[in-house]
Every structure is written in structure tokens, then in C-alpha cells.
């Protein structure tokens, strides 16, 4: 398989958020600012790459009937490692993402890639796939976070662009996440068809 195609499919053609509509819970939950979206995206990328790597390594050692529990244990282990590392070295980011980090375990993207890709492909392809999918997810979350932060509080990555008083509060709240995501999906879809 062409590795470059394998890598880039996560950004556009099979983007987890905009095209596959997977992992909506963290997508809508944490993207109230660009930096939160980026942090969540990178944490997920790490978990994706590591779990894809391990699962493609052990795919031939796992009996078919227990593969899902085995995958989940691997994924949960890496999520817990990320959680502890973030708590230790980036406490500020940890406190703002908080609850959503453990939820990476049940993020459908991670298990989806393990089941659909890593358990059928070589180690190298699986790492590339995890990296592409993860960075595509991170990109989507950062884009969504940027739009919401800019419209909602007049900032971008915490730099003030215009006074907060003119911000549309709704974009910081949950409905704004749905509105922004809806428009972005529409735009991506239009671009894909063009």
C-alpha cells in the first residue's frame, strides 16, 4: 500500500470527525478553545499510534474470540499512561481536559482503527495509519476549537483578536459546537465533491 496515501487519508478523505463522524463526544466536548482541541487531538494521536503499533505486533497471537477485550486492555493501558504523564508534566492542560482523557478509551476511532486496520496490516502501515488518523483528528479538533474560540470569546490560542464583549457566547457552549461542526462538515463535503 502506498504509505503516503495511507498517511494522508486521515486528513481529508477519511477524516475521523468531518467524514466518518466518529468520536463526537470529545469533539464537541473539549473544543471550546483551540488549545484544548489540539491537546486532546495530540493525546488521542499518541494513543492511536501506540495501540496500532502494539496491536499489529500481537495480532497473530490473539485468539479471534477474545480480540476485542484484548484490544481494549491495550488501549486502556495507553490512555492511562497518557493521563498520568499529562497530570505530571502538563497539569494546566490536564485540568482543562480532565474528564475527557479517560474517555479516549471508548473513542470509536481508536478501537475502529485497531479492528479495521491494525489487526490486518503490517506494523509499519499501522503506525502510519495511526499517525495520519490521529493528526487528522487533531487537525479537525484544532480547527473546530479555533472557530469556536474566535467567534465565542474573540481569542485565538489565547491571543485576543477582538474584545471578548463582542463574542457570541453560544459558540463557547454546546449548541455552538454543533453549529460550527455542522457548517464545517458542509464545507468539507462541498470541497470533496468539487
Amino acid at each position: 500500500m502506498n504509505q503516503w496515501k495511507n498517511f494522508t487519508k486521515g486528513f481529508f478523505k477519511e477524516n475521523a470527525v468531518f467524514v466518518l463522524l466518529l468520536g463526537m463526544c470529545p469533539t464537541l466536548g473539549v473544543t471550546s478553545s483551540a488549545i484544548n482541541g489540539l491537546g486532546m487531538g495530540l493525546a488521542t494521536t499518541f494513543v492511536l499510534v501506540m495501540s496500532n503499533l502494539v496491536i499489529s505486533l500481537i495480532k497473530n497471537l490473539i485468539p479471534e474470540k477474545v480480540r476485542i477485550p484484548a484490544f481494549i486492555v491495550v488501549i486502556a493501558t495507553f490512555v492511562t499512561i497518557v493521563e498520568m504523564l499529562m497530570q505530571a508534566f502538563t497539569p494546566a492542560l490536564y485540568s482543562s481536559l480532565g474528564l475527557f482523557i479517560p474517555l479516549i478509551v471508548v473513542n470509536c476511532i481508536v478501537l475502529g482503527r485497531a479492528e479495521a486496520f491494525a489487526s490486518k496490516n503490517s506494523v509499519g502501515s499501522s503506525i502510519v495509519d495511526g499517525l495520519g488518523m490521529g493528526l487528522g483528528f487533531a487537525m479537525a479538533l484544532t480547527m473546530l476549537g479555533s472557530v469556536r474560540e474566535l467567534l465565542g470569546s474573540g481569542k485565538l490560542f489565547n491571543f485576543t483578536i477582538y474584545p471578548e464583549d463582542y463574542g457570541m457566547l453560544v459558540f463557547v457552549l454546546a449548541p455552538g459546537a454543533f453549529i460550527a461542526l455542522g457548517y464545517m462538515i458542509a464545507i468539507i463535503d462541498k470541497m470533496k465533491k468539487a
Binding site: 471550546s32 500481537i58 495480532k59 497473530n60 497471537l61 490473539i62 485468539p63 479471534e64 474470540k65 477474545v66 480480540r67 477485550p69 484484548a70 486492555v73 491495550v74 486502556a76 493501558t77 492511562t80 499512561i81 498520568m84 504523564l85 497530570q87 505530571a88 508534566f89 497539569p91 485540568s95 489487526s119 490486518k120 465565542g152 470569546s153 463574542g167 457566547l169 463557547v172 457552549l173
Partner: protein
């Protein structure tokens, strides 16, 4: 894909090995991050104390006094002393009246009960509304600020309840909870003032 047969023995063995490896690596990472996590927490606490009380020379965490408020909430009092004299007390106080979940704040009082400063430690209020409490009650605009006010002289409740403080726009519940935490902190401080003035230096 699976080249190993799904027999009971194989399944048991595989899962056992995987969970054992997972457990071991988690234990390893836990050991590795245990110290930095504790250090990060202690640093956050130290910084919060430093921010809310006048300059001090002792280590307030040494003289910490843990009490329970009449509402049953755990309150921690950190005495800040300069050359053995009490210059302020940082109170880690909380309220369970928040819009969503508990609100935990660190409030600094002078020995006479005047509020020096505060820092919000933990809250899960609505982003863009209740979360404004982080700066709202420090901003010197209208009757927003609680700084330099004394709960003994000023009625520190929101103006809707007949008090002297302007609530956060569209977040009265969060504002009430914040002021409730300040009140609980103040009362715990006054009740234990004697203990804090004495005690370890």
C-alpha cells in the same frame, strides 16, 4: 487473521498475559510520575497561597489546619506568618451550591478578616458564564470586587439577595456559590483564629 485457535486455554492465557503486561507497565509509569504529580500539586497549592496572602516567611503548608465546616465540607487553613507573626491566612474553601459540581477556591484573609485576594482552584461552571468568577470578583468595576472587603462589615451576598456584591451577569447561581465558599472560609477562619495564631512557626 488469528492463527491461534480460540480454545479456552488459549483465550485465558492470552488475556492473562496481556493484562499482566498492561498492569506491570502501568505500575512502572505510576512510579515514574508519582513524584512529579505530587510536586505539581504542591506547587499549585504554594502558588495559590502566595497569591492570596501578604508576603510571609514561613511555610504555610506546615501549619495547615484541617477542619470541617458546619455544612460538612472539608476546609483547610494555611497560616502565613512573617517573623512569627500572623500576617494572613489562606483558606482552601469550597461550596456545594455551584451550578454544576463543587467550587473550590483559595481565599486569603488578613488577620482582621479583610479579603486580600482569591484564586479559583477547581470549578465546573458553565464556560463563558460561571467561569468568569476566576477574574470577576477581582475586577474593580461597580460592586463586583470582593477584594479589601471584610465579611464582618460588608454584606458579601449578591445584590439580588440584598447584599453588596454584583453577581456575574447571567450566572447568579455561580456567584452565590462563590460567595458561599468565601463565607464558609471566613467563618472557619474566625472559629479557628486562636489556633492559627499560636501553633508551629
Amino acid at each position: 487473521m488469528a492463527t491461534i485457535e480460540s480454545s479456552l486455554k488459549n483465550m485465558l492465557l492470552t488475556l492473562l498475559v496481556i493484562t499482566a503486561i498492561a498492569g506491570t507497565s502501568l505500575g512502572f509509569v505510576y512510579k515514574m510520575t508519582e513524584a512529579p504529580i505530587a510536586a505539581a500539586k504542591a506547587k499549585k497549592q504554594q502558588e495559590a497561597i502566595k497569591m492570596v496572602v501578604p508576603p510571609f516567611t514561613n511555610n504555610p503548608a506546615d501549619g495547615v489546619l484541617e477542619v470541617t465546616s458546619p455544612e460538612g465540607l472539608p476546609i483547610r487553613l494555611f497560616p502565613a506568618k512573617k517573623d512569627g507573626k500572623l500576617v494572613g491566612v489562606a483558606v482552601e474553601t469550597m461550596s456545594n451550591k455551584g451550578f454544576s459540581g463543587n467550587i473550590s477556591i483559595m481565599v486569603g484573609f488578613k488577620p482582621d478578616g479583610t479579603i486580600v485576594n482569591y484564586q479559583v482552584l477547581d470549578q465546573k461552571e458553565t464556560p463563558g458564564l460561571g467561569t468568569k468568577m476566576v477574574t470577576w470578583f477581582k475586577t474593580n468595576k461597580g460592586n463586583q470586587s470582593v477584594l479589601d472587603k471584610n465579611p464582618k462589615k460588608n454584606n458579601l451576598t449578591v445584590s439580588k439577595d440584598g447584599g453588596d456584591v454584583d453577581a456575574i451577569t447571567a450566572a447568579t447561581i455561580s456567584s452565590r456559590a462563590f460567595l458561599d465558599a468565601v463565607r464558609i472560609g471566613y467563618e472557619s477562619f474566625m472559629k479557628n483564629k486562636d489556633k492559627l495564631e499560636g501553633g508551629a512557626q
